[in-house]
Protein backbone atom coordinates (compact mmCIF):
# COMPACT_ATOMS: atom_id res chain seq x y z
CA UNK A 1 0.00 0.00 0.00
CA UNK A 2 3.03 2.23 -0.32
CA UNK A 3 1.70 3.73 -3.51
CA UNK A 4 -1.42 4.93 -1.77
CA UNK A 5 0.76 6.60 0.88
CA UNK A 6 2.79 8.35 -1.80
CA UNK A 7 -0.34 9.49 -3.55
CA UNK A 8 -1.74 10.86 -0.28
CA UNK A 9 1.47 12.78 0.44
CA UNK A 10 1.64 14.19 -3.06
CA UNK A 11 -1.98 15.16 -2.88
CA UNK A 12 -1.36 17.00 0.39
CA UNK A 13 1.55 18.85 -1.21
CA UNK A 14 -0.24 19.59 -4.40
CA UNK A 15 -3.93 19.95 -3.66
CA UNK A 16 -4.82 21.34 -7.03
CA UNK A 17 -3.80 18.24 -8.93
CA UNK A 18 -6.60 16.18 -10.33
CA UNK A 19 -6.63 12.66 -9.09
CA UNK A 20 -7.54 9.47 -10.83
CA UNK A 21 -7.56 6.75 -8.28
CA UNK A 22 -8.40 3.60 -10.20
CA UNK A 23 -5.74 2.63 -12.73
CA UNK A 24 -2.06 2.27 -11.91
CA UNK A 25 -0.72 3.22 -15.35
CA UNK A 26 -2.59 6.51 -15.09
CA UNK A 27 -1.15 7.34 -11.65
CA UNK A 28 2.47 6.99 -12.70
CA UNK A 29 2.56 9.92 -15.14
CA UNK A 30 0.79 12.03 -12.49
CA UNK A 31 3.52 11.19 -9.96
CA UNK A 32 6.23 12.18 -12.39
CA UNK A 33 4.44 15.35 -13.28
CA UNK A 34 4.06 16.48 -9.68
CA UNK A 35 7.63 15.63 -8.81
CA UNK A 36 8.86 17.74 -11.68
CA UNK A 37 6.69 20.56 -10.52
CA UNK A 38 7.94 20.72 -6.94
CA UNK A 39 11.56 21.86 -7.48
CA UNK A 40 10.31 24.56 -9.79
CA UNK A 41 7.88 25.74 -7.17
CA UNK A 42 10.62 25.93 -4.54
CA UNK A 43 12.78 28.03 -6.83
CA UNK A 44 9.95 30.45 -7.34
CA UNK A 45 9.56 30.77 -3.59
CA UNK A 46 13.24 31.64 -3.18
CA UNK A 47 13.25 34.27 -5.93
CA UNK A 48 9.97 35.74 -4.79
CA UNK A 49 11.36 36.04 -1.31
CA UNK A 50 11.09 39.78 -1.15
CA UNK A 51 7.46 39.77 -2.23
CA UNK A 52 6.39 37.35 0.45
CA UNK A 53 6.27 40.07 3.04
CA UNK A 54 2.51 39.90 3.48
CA UNK A 55 2.53 36.22 4.25
CA UNK A 56 5.51 36.30 6.53
CA UNK A 57 4.22 39.24 8.44
CA UNK A 58 0.94 37.49 9.03
CA UNK A 59 2.79 34.43 10.23
CA UNK A 60 4.92 36.56 12.51
CA UNK A 61 1.82 38.11 13.98
CA UNK A 62 0.36 34.72 14.73
CA UNK A 63 3.45 33.55 16.53
CA UNK A 64 3.88 36.21 19.16
CA UNK A 65 0.47 36.15 20.74
CA UNK A 66 1.43 36.17 24.41
CA UNK A 67 1.03 39.54 26.17
CA UNK A 68 4.25 41.41 26.63
CA UNK A 69 4.31 41.25 30.41
CA UNK A 70 4.55 37.47 30.51
CA UNK A 71 7.73 35.44 30.35
CA UNK A 72 6.47 33.40 27.39
CA UNK A 73 6.44 36.49 25.20
CA UNK A 74 10.18 36.89 25.58
CA UNK A 75 10.75 33.17 25.16
CA UNK A 76 9.52 33.49 21.58
CA UNK A 77 12.60 35.55 20.80
CA UNK A 78 14.90 32.75 21.92
CA UNK A 79 13.26 30.01 19.92
CA UNK A 80 16.41 28.92 18.11
CA UNK A 81 18.51 25.78 18.16
CA UNK A 82 22.28 25.58 18.06
CA UNK A 83 22.45 24.70 14.38
CA UNK A 84 20.19 27.64 13.49
CA UNK A 85 22.45 30.11 15.28
CA UNK A 86 25.49 28.61 13.57
CA UNK A 87 23.76 28.82 10.18
CA UNK A 88 22.92 32.45 10.72
CA UNK A 89 26.48 33.26 11.70
CA UNK A 90 27.73 31.46 8.61
CA UNK A 91 25.28 33.41 6.47
CA UNK A 92 26.53 36.70 7.85
CA UNK A 93 30.15 35.87 7.09
CA UNK A 94 29.76 34.34 3.61
CA UNK A 95 27.27 36.50 1.76
CA UNK A 96 25.56 34.63 -1.05
CA UNK A 97 24.99 36.98 -3.98
CA UNK A 98 21.32 37.42 -4.71
CA UNK A 99 20.05 35.92 -1.52
CA UNK A 100 18.57 38.05 1.21
CA UNK A 101 19.86 37.28 4.72
CA UNK A 102 16.55 37.99 6.35
CA UNK A 103 14.50 35.86 4.00
CA UNK A 104 17.00 33.08 3.77
CA UNK A 105 18.02 32.61 7.37
CA UNK A 106 15.66 34.45 9.61
CA UNK A 107 12.42 33.49 7.90
CA UNK A 108 10.18 35.35 10.35
CA UNK A 109 11.88 33.81 13.37
CA UNK A 110 14.16 36.60 14.58
CA UNK A 111 16.07 35.80 17.70
CA UNK A 112 17.68 38.00 20.30
CA UNK A 113 20.21 35.39 21.39
CA UNK A 114 22.60 36.02 18.49
CA UNK A 115 22.68 39.83 18.63
CA UNK A 116 23.04 39.97 22.41
CA UNK A 117 25.83 37.42 22.83
CA UNK A 118 27.70 38.45 19.70
CA UNK A 119 27.76 42.01 21.02
CA UNK A 120 28.91 40.82 24.47
CA UNK A 121 31.67 38.71 22.93
CA UNK A 122 32.74 41.58 20.71
CA UNK A 123 32.95 43.97 23.67
CA UNK A 124 35.27 41.70 25.62
CA UNK A 125 37.24 40.64 22.55
CA UNK A 126 37.99 44.24 21.64
CA UNK A 127 38.93 45.18 25.20
CA UNK A 128 41.16 42.13 25.73
CA UNK A 129 42.78 42.32 22.28
CA UNK A 130 43.43 46.03 22.66
CA UNK A 131 45.06 45.43 26.01
CA UNK A 132 47.20 42.57 24.66
CA UNK A 133 48.20 44.55 21.59
CA UNK A 134 49.27 47.53 23.65
CA UNK A 135 51.22 45.22 25.92
CA UNK A 136 53.16 43.69 23.05
CA UNK A 137 53.81 47.03 21.37
CA UNK A 138 55.20 48.67 24.49
CA UNK A 139 56.94 45.57 25.79
CA UNK A 140 60.57 46.49 25.39
CA UNK A 141 60.45 49.96 26.82
CA UNK A 142 62.06 50.45 30.22
CA UNK A 143 59.50 52.99 31.39
CA UNK A 144 56.51 50.87 30.54
CA UNK A 145 54.35 49.59 33.36
CA UNK A 146 51.51 47.30 32.40
CA UNK A 147 48.00 48.51 33.17
CA UNK A 148 44.85 46.46 32.69
CA UNK A 149 42.87 49.45 31.31
CA UNK A 150 39.60 48.16 32.69
CA UNK A 151 37.70 51.37 32.02
CA UNK A 152 37.81 50.64 28.34
CA UNK A 153 35.48 47.69 28.80
CA UNK A 154 32.62 49.95 29.78
CA UNK A 155 33.36 52.33 26.93
CA UNK A 156 33.44 49.43 24.47
CA UNK A 157 30.18 48.07 25.87
CA UNK A 158 28.40 51.39 25.54
CA UNK A 159 29.60 51.93 21.99
CA UNK A 160 28.82 48.51 20.65
CA UNK A 161 25.46 48.06 22.29
CA UNK A 162 24.44 51.57 21.22
CA UNK A 163 25.40 50.75 17.64
CA UNK A 164 23.62 47.41 17.68
CA UNK A 165 20.35 48.81 19.06
CA UNK A 166 20.08 52.50 18.17
CA UNK A 167 21.08 52.26 14.53
CA UNK A 168 18.47 49.55 13.83
CA UNK A 169 15.92 51.68 15.66
CA UNK A 170 16.72 54.68 13.48
CA UNK A 171 16.73 52.56 10.35
CA UNK A 172 13.43 50.94 11.23
CA UNK A 173 11.85 54.31 11.91
CA UNK A 174 13.16 55.62 8.61
CA UNK A 175 11.83 52.62 6.69
CA UNK A 176 8.43 52.96 8.36
CA UNK A 177 8.29 56.60 7.40
CA UNK A 178 9.20 55.88 3.79
CA UNK A 179 6.74 53.01 3.77
CA UNK A 180 3.95 55.41 4.52
CA UNK A 181 4.89 57.51 1.52
CA UNK A 182 5.82 54.90 -1.08
CA UNK A 183 3.56 51.91 -1.26
CA UNK A 184 5.77 49.13 -2.55
CA UNK A 185 8.54 49.17 -0.02
CA UNK A 186 9.25 45.92 1.76
CA UNK A 187 9.42 46.67 5.43
CA UNK A 188 11.19 44.54 7.97
CA UNK A 189 10.14 44.31 11.57
CA UNK A 190 12.35 45.97 14.17
CA UNK A 191 13.59 42.66 15.51
CA UNK A 192 14.62 41.45 12.08
CA UNK A 193 16.74 44.56 11.60
CA UNK A 194 18.31 44.09 15.04
CA UNK A 195 18.99 40.48 14.09
CA UNK A 196 20.73 41.41 10.83
CA UNK A 197 22.87 44.03 12.53
CA UNK A 198 23.75 41.74 15.41
CA UNK A 199 24.85 38.88 13.20
CA UNK A 200 26.71 41.23 10.85
CA UNK A 201 28.93 42.26 13.78
CA UNK A 202 30.23 38.71 14.09
CA UNK A 203 33.00 39.24 11.52
CA UNK A 204 34.59 41.83 13.79
CA UNK A 205 35.36 39.23 16.46
CA UNK A 206 38.12 37.42 14.53
CA UNK A 207 39.13 40.77 13.06
CA UNK A 208 39.67 42.19 16.55
CA UNK A 209 41.77 39.18 17.51
CA UNK A 210 43.90 39.59 14.38
CA UNK A 211 44.33 43.30 15.13
CA UNK A 212 46.82 42.26 17.81
CA UNK A 213 49.36 41.96 15.00
CA UNK A 214 51.24 45.26 15.25
CA UNK A 215 51.45 46.10 11.56
CA UNK A 216 49.44 48.98 10.16
CA UNK A 217 49.10 47.41 6.73
CA UNK A 218 47.71 44.19 8.16
CA UNK A 219 45.22 46.08 10.32
CA UNK A 220 43.86 48.19 7.50
CA UNK A 221 43.62 45.22 5.15
CA UNK A 222 41.57 43.47 7.83
CA UNK A 223 39.31 46.49 8.20
CA UNK A 224 38.62 46.61 4.47
CA UNK A 225 38.11 42.86 4.23
CA UNK A 226 35.65 42.59 7.11
CA UNK A 227 33.85 45.71 5.95
CA UNK A 228 33.37 44.17 2.51
CA UNK A 229 31.95 40.96 3.91
CA UNK A 230 29.53 42.29 6.48
CA UNK A 231 28.78 45.43 4.49
CA UNK A 232 27.68 43.33 1.56
CA UNK A 233 25.33 41.35 3.78
CA UNK A 234 23.78 44.60 4.99
CA UNK A 235 23.54 46.04 1.50
CA UNK A 236 21.92 42.93 0.09
CA UNK A 237 19.43 42.98 2.93
CA UNK A 238 18.42 46.59 2.69
CA UNK A 239 18.72 47.34 -1.00
CA UNK A 240 15.48 45.49 -1.88
CA UNK A 241 13.77 47.46 0.85
CA UNK A 242 14.60 50.87 -0.55
CA UNK A 243 15.12 50.33 -4.27
CA UNK A 244 11.51 51.24 -5.10
CA UNK A 245 11.94 54.57 -3.48
CA UNK A 246 13.39 57.77 -4.90
CA UNK A 247 16.79 56.91 -6.36
CA UNK A 248 18.76 59.42 -4.39
CA UNK A 249 17.17 58.55 -1.07
CA UNK A 250 17.80 54.86 -1.68
CA UNK A 251 21.45 55.40 -2.45
CA UNK A 252 21.84 57.76 0.49
CA UNK A 253 20.31 55.22 2.87
CA UNK A 254 22.58 52.41 1.80
CA UNK A 255 25.59 54.71 1.87
CA UNK A 256 24.75 55.79 5.43
CA UNK A 257 24.44 52.18 6.55
CA UNK A 258 27.88 51.38 5.15
CA UNK A 259 29.39 54.57 6.52
CA UNK A 260 28.22 53.87 10.06
CA UNK A 261 29.51 50.31 9.85
CA UNK A 262 32.90 51.55 8.68
CA UNK A 263 32.95 54.21 11.35
CA UNK A 264 32.47 51.59 14.05
CA UNK A 265 35.38 49.52 12.79
CA UNK A 266 37.76 52.43 12.31
CA UNK A 267 36.77 54.02 15.61
CA UNK A 268 37.40 50.81 17.56
CA UNK A 269 40.74 50.35 15.85
CA UNK A 270 41.81 53.92 16.61
CA UNK A 271 40.66 54.01 20.23
CA UNK A 272 41.47 50.60 21.61
CA UNK A 273 44.63 49.77 19.69
CA UNK A 274 47.68 51.97 19.97
CA UNK A 275 49.58 52.72 16.82
CA UNK A 276 52.41 50.29 16.27
CA UNK A 277 55.95 51.63 16.42
CA UNK A 278 57.71 52.00 13.13
CA UNK A 279 61.13 50.44 12.81
CA UNK A 280 63.09 53.49 11.66
CA UNK A 281 66.66 53.92 12.81
CA UNK A 282 66.86 56.87 15.13
CA UNK A 283 68.63 59.89 13.55
CA UNK A 284 70.78 62.10 15.69
CA UNK A 285 70.37 65.74 14.85
CA UNK A 286 72.85 68.25 16.29
CA UNK A 287 70.91 71.14 17.79
CA UNK A 288 71.99 74.82 17.54
CA UNK A 289 73.69 75.09 20.87
CA UNK A 290 75.81 72.04 20.31
CA UNK A 291 73.97 69.42 22.32
CA UNK A 292 72.73 66.44 20.41
CA UNK A 293 69.00 65.93 20.21
CA UNK A 294 67.72 62.45 19.59
CA UNK A 295 64.42 62.35 17.75
CA UNK A 296 62.20 59.37 17.32
CA UNK A 297 59.37 59.19 14.85
CA UNK A 298 56.16 57.28 15.46
Amino acid sequence: FAEFDDAANLLAANPDATTISIDEPVEIPKNQHSRLQEPGREEDDELLGTDDSDKTELLAGQKKSAPFWTFEYYQTFFDVDTYQVLDRIKGSVFPVPGKNFVRLYIRSNPDLYGPFWICATLVFTIAVSGNLSNFFIHLGKPTYHYVPEFRKVSIAATTIYAYAWLVPLALWGFLMWRNSKVMNIVSYSFLEIVCVYGYSLFIYIPTAILWIIPQNVVRWVLVVFSLCLSGSVLVMTFWPAVRDDNRRIAVATVATILLLHALLAVGCLAYFFDAPELDIPVPIIPAHNGTTVVTKSH
Partner: protein, 217 residues
Protein backbone atom coordinates in the same frame (compact mmCIF):
# COMPACT_ATOMS: atom_id res chain seq x y z
CA UNK B 1 10.31 19.29 40.39
CA UNK B 2 10.52 18.29 36.73
CA UNK B 3 14.18 19.12 36.38
CA UNK B 4 15.20 16.68 39.06
CA UNK B 5 13.42 13.69 37.60
CA UNK B 6 16.53 12.16 36.10
CA UNK B 7 19.12 13.15 38.66
CA UNK B 8 20.87 10.18 40.18
CA UNK B 9 21.99 10.50 43.76
CA UNK B 10 25.28 8.82 44.59
CA UNK B 11 25.46 6.81 47.70
CA UNK B 12 27.63 8.92 49.93
CA UNK B 13 25.39 11.94 50.06
CA UNK B 14 23.46 11.87 53.29
CA UNK B 15 19.81 12.50 53.02
CA UNK B 16 18.98 15.24 55.40
CA UNK B 17 15.90 17.03 56.49
CA UNK B 18 13.10 16.42 58.84
CA UNK B 19 9.97 14.44 58.35
CA UNK B 20 7.31 15.60 60.71
CA UNK B 21 4.11 13.63 60.66
CA UNK B 22 1.20 15.67 61.95
CA UNK B 23 -0.57 12.94 63.81
CA UNK B 24 -1.18 12.75 67.47
CA UNK B 25 -1.27 15.64 69.81
CA UNK B 26 -0.71 19.15 68.62
CA UNK B 27 0.97 20.34 71.78
CA UNK B 28 3.85 22.77 71.08
CA UNK B 29 6.20 20.90 73.41
CA UNK B 30 6.56 18.05 70.95
CA UNK B 31 7.42 20.22 67.92
CA UNK B 32 11.11 20.86 67.46
CA UNK B 33 11.43 24.55 66.77
CA UNK B 34 14.65 26.12 65.64
CA UNK B 35 13.94 29.08 67.85
CA UNK B 36 14.90 27.13 70.90
CA UNK B 37 18.24 25.80 69.79
CA UNK B 38 21.50 27.52 70.65
CA UNK B 39 22.67 30.14 68.16
CA UNK B 40 25.86 28.16 67.57
CA UNK B 41 23.79 25.27 66.17
CA UNK B 42 21.95 27.51 63.74
CA UNK B 43 25.15 29.06 62.46
CA UNK B 44 26.98 25.74 62.28
CA UNK B 45 24.18 24.19 60.28
CA UNK B 46 24.40 26.88 57.61
CA UNK B 47 28.19 26.81 57.65
CA UNK B 48 28.19 23.06 57.19
CA UNK B 49 25.79 23.34 54.25
CA UNK B 50 28.03 25.94 52.62
CA UNK B 51 31.12 23.84 53.27
CA UNK B 52 29.49 20.75 51.84
CA UNK B 53 28.70 22.67 48.66
CA UNK B 54 32.29 23.83 48.40
CA UNK B 55 33.35 20.19 48.46
CA UNK B 56 30.81 19.36 45.76
CA UNK B 57 32.24 22.08 43.53
CA UNK B 58 35.82 20.96 43.99
CA UNK B 59 34.95 17.36 43.14
CA UNK B 60 32.09 17.77 40.69
CA UNK B 61 29.99 14.76 40.18
CA UNK B 62 26.33 14.46 39.61
CA UNK B 63 24.72 15.48 42.82
CA UNK B 64 21.54 17.20 43.64
CA UNK B 65 22.67 18.85 46.87
CA UNK B 66 23.79 22.01 45.10
CA UNK B 67 20.59 22.24 43.17
CA UNK B 68 18.09 21.18 45.79
CA UNK B 69 19.26 23.19 48.80
CA UNK B 70 20.42 26.32 47.11
CA UNK B 71 21.76 29.18 49.14
CA UNK B 72 23.50 32.39 48.20
CA UNK B 73 25.83 32.69 51.20
CA UNK B 74 28.66 30.89 49.48
CA UNK B 75 28.51 32.98 46.32
CA UNK B 76 28.40 36.16 48.38
CA UNK B 77 31.46 35.19 50.41
CA UNK B 78 33.34 34.17 47.26
CA UNK B 79 32.38 37.30 45.36
CA UNK B 80 33.36 39.64 48.19
CA UNK B 81 36.70 37.92 48.79
CA UNK B 82 37.51 37.92 45.07
CA UNK B 83 36.60 41.59 44.76
CA UNK B 84 38.69 42.44 47.82
CA UNK B 85 41.70 40.54 46.51
CA UNK B 86 41.45 42.34 43.18
CA UNK B 87 41.92 45.66 44.97
CA UNK B 88 45.22 47.33 45.24
CA UNK B 89 45.95 47.01 41.56
CA UNK B 90 48.18 49.44 39.81
CA UNK B 91 46.65 52.73 38.85
CA UNK B 92 48.64 55.60 37.43
CA UNK B 93 45.44 57.34 36.62
CA UNK B 94 42.05 56.16 37.63
CA UNK B 95 41.21 55.27 34.06
CA UNK B 96 43.91 52.74 33.52
CA UNK B 97 43.74 50.60 36.57
CA UNK B 98 42.16 47.31 37.23
CA UNK B 99 38.53 46.81 38.12
CA UNK B 100 37.24 48.45 41.27
CA UNK B 101 35.34 46.58 43.96
CA UNK B 102 31.96 47.64 42.64
CA UNK B 103 32.88 46.67 39.10
CA UNK B 104 33.86 43.14 40.10
CA UNK B 105 30.74 42.77 42.19
CA UNK B 106 28.47 43.99 39.42
CA UNK B 107 30.17 41.88 36.78
CA UNK B 108 29.80 38.70 38.80
CA UNK B 109 26.22 39.20 39.93
CA UNK B 110 24.89 40.85 36.79
CA UNK B 111 26.68 38.29 34.67
CA UNK B 112 25.19 35.42 36.66
CA UNK B 113 21.70 36.93 36.40
CA UNK B 114 22.03 37.41 32.64
CA UNK B 115 23.24 33.84 32.13
CA UNK B 116 20.38 32.52 34.23
CA UNK B 117 17.84 34.54 32.26
CA UNK B 118 19.43 33.31 29.07
CA UNK B 119 19.13 29.68 30.05
CA UNK B 120 15.55 30.13 31.19
CA UNK B 121 14.58 31.93 28.00
CA UNK B 122 16.08 29.11 25.96
CA UNK B 123 13.74 26.71 27.70
CA UNK B 124 15.73 25.47 30.67
CA UNK B 125 13.93 23.85 33.57
CA UNK B 126 16.18 25.04 36.35
CA UNK B 127 14.91 27.69 38.73
CA UNK B 128 16.35 31.17 38.92
CA UNK B 129 18.04 30.92 42.31
CA UNK B 130 19.33 27.40 41.74
CA UNK B 131 21.19 28.61 38.70
CA UNK B 132 22.54 31.66 40.54
CA UNK B 133 23.68 29.33 43.33
CA UNK B 134 25.57 27.03 40.97
CA UNK B 135 27.22 29.84 39.03
CA UNK B 136 28.25 31.57 42.24
CA UNK B 137 29.68 28.47 43.88
CA UNK B 138 31.66 27.60 40.76
CA UNK B 139 33.64 30.83 41.19
CA UNK B 140 35.48 28.96 44.00
CA UNK B 141 38.32 27.58 41.82
CA UNK B 142 38.94 31.06 40.43
CA UNK B 143 39.06 32.53 43.95
CA UNK B 144 41.68 29.92 44.83
CA UNK B 145 43.57 30.93 41.69
CA UNK B 146 43.45 34.57 42.76
CA UNK B 147 44.90 33.63 46.14
CA UNK B 148 47.70 31.69 44.48
CA UNK B 149 48.38 34.61 42.10
CA UNK B 150 48.70 37.08 44.93
CA UNK B 151 51.10 34.78 46.76
CA UNK B 152 53.18 34.27 43.61
CA UNK B 153 53.27 38.02 43.00
CA UNK B 154 54.56 38.56 46.53
CA UNK B 155 57.55 36.42 45.66
CA UNK B 156 58.44 37.84 42.24
CA UNK B 157 56.87 39.65 39.31
CA UNK B 158 58.87 38.42 36.37
CA UNK B 159 58.25 36.17 33.43
CA UNK B 160 58.43 32.94 35.44
CA UNK B 161 55.75 34.16 37.81
CA UNK B 162 53.61 35.15 34.84
CA UNK B 163 53.88 31.68 33.36
CA UNK B 164 52.97 30.10 36.68
CA UNK B 165 50.01 32.43 37.04
CA UNK B 166 48.90 31.72 33.49
CA UNK B 167 48.94 27.98 34.06
CA UNK B 168 47.13 28.20 37.39
CA UNK B 169 44.45 30.60 36.14
CA UNK B 170 43.97 28.57 32.98
CA UNK B 171 43.53 25.34 34.92
CA UNK B 172 41.09 26.90 37.38
CA UNK B 173 39.13 28.48 34.53
CA UNK B 174 38.72 25.07 32.96
CA UNK B 175 37.70 23.59 36.30
CA UNK B 176 35.07 26.27 36.92
CA UNK B 177 33.56 25.93 33.48
CA UNK B 178 33.47 22.15 33.63
CA UNK B 179 32.00 22.15 37.13
CA UNK B 180 29.20 24.55 36.31
CA UNK B 181 28.48 22.79 33.03
CA UNK B 182 28.25 19.48 34.86
CA UNK B 183 25.60 20.88 37.15
CA UNK B 184 23.65 22.99 34.70
CA UNK B 185 23.78 21.17 31.40
CA UNK B 186 21.24 18.51 32.22
CA UNK B 187 18.41 20.93 32.72
CA UNK B 188 18.64 22.26 29.17
CA UNK B 189 16.92 20.98 26.05
CA UNK B 190 19.46 18.81 24.22
CA UNK B 191 19.63 20.77 20.97
CA UNK B 192 20.45 24.01 22.75
CA UNK B 193 23.15 22.90 25.14
CA UNK B 194 25.92 24.75 23.31
CA UNK B 195 23.85 27.92 23.34
CA UNK B 196 23.69 27.74 27.13
CA UNK B 197 27.27 26.65 27.77
CA UNK B 198 28.89 29.39 25.70
CA UNK B 199 27.81 32.33 27.94
CA UNK B 200 29.07 30.43 30.99
CA UNK B 201 32.41 30.03 29.21
CA UNK B 202 32.48 33.78 28.44
CA UNK B 203 31.60 34.66 32.05
CA UNK B 204 34.43 32.65 33.60
CA UNK B 205 36.79 33.84 30.87
CA UNK B 206 36.18 37.46 31.82
CA UNK B 207 36.75 36.71 35.50
CA UNK B 208 39.93 34.79 34.65
CA UNK B 209 41.14 37.72 32.57
CA UNK B 210 40.61 40.08 35.49
CA UNK B 211 42.58 37.74 37.74
CA UNK B 212 45.41 37.22 35.28
CA UNK B 213 45.92 40.91 34.53
CA UNK B 214 46.10 41.89 38.18
CA UNK B 215 49.35 43.73 38.76
CA UNK B 216 50.23 45.11 42.16
CA UNK B 217 51.53 48.63 42.38
Amino acid sequence: FPGLADVSISQDIPVEGEITVPVGSQSPDEDYSTLDEPVKDTIMRDLKAVGKKFVHVMYPRKSSALLRDWDLWGPLVLCVSLALMLQGGSADSKDDGGPQFAEVFVIIWFGAVVITLNSKLLGGTISFFQSLCVLGYCVLPLTVAMLVCRLVLLASAGTISFIIRLIVVGAMFGWSTLASTAFLADSQPPNRKALVVYPIFLFYFVISWMILTFTPQ
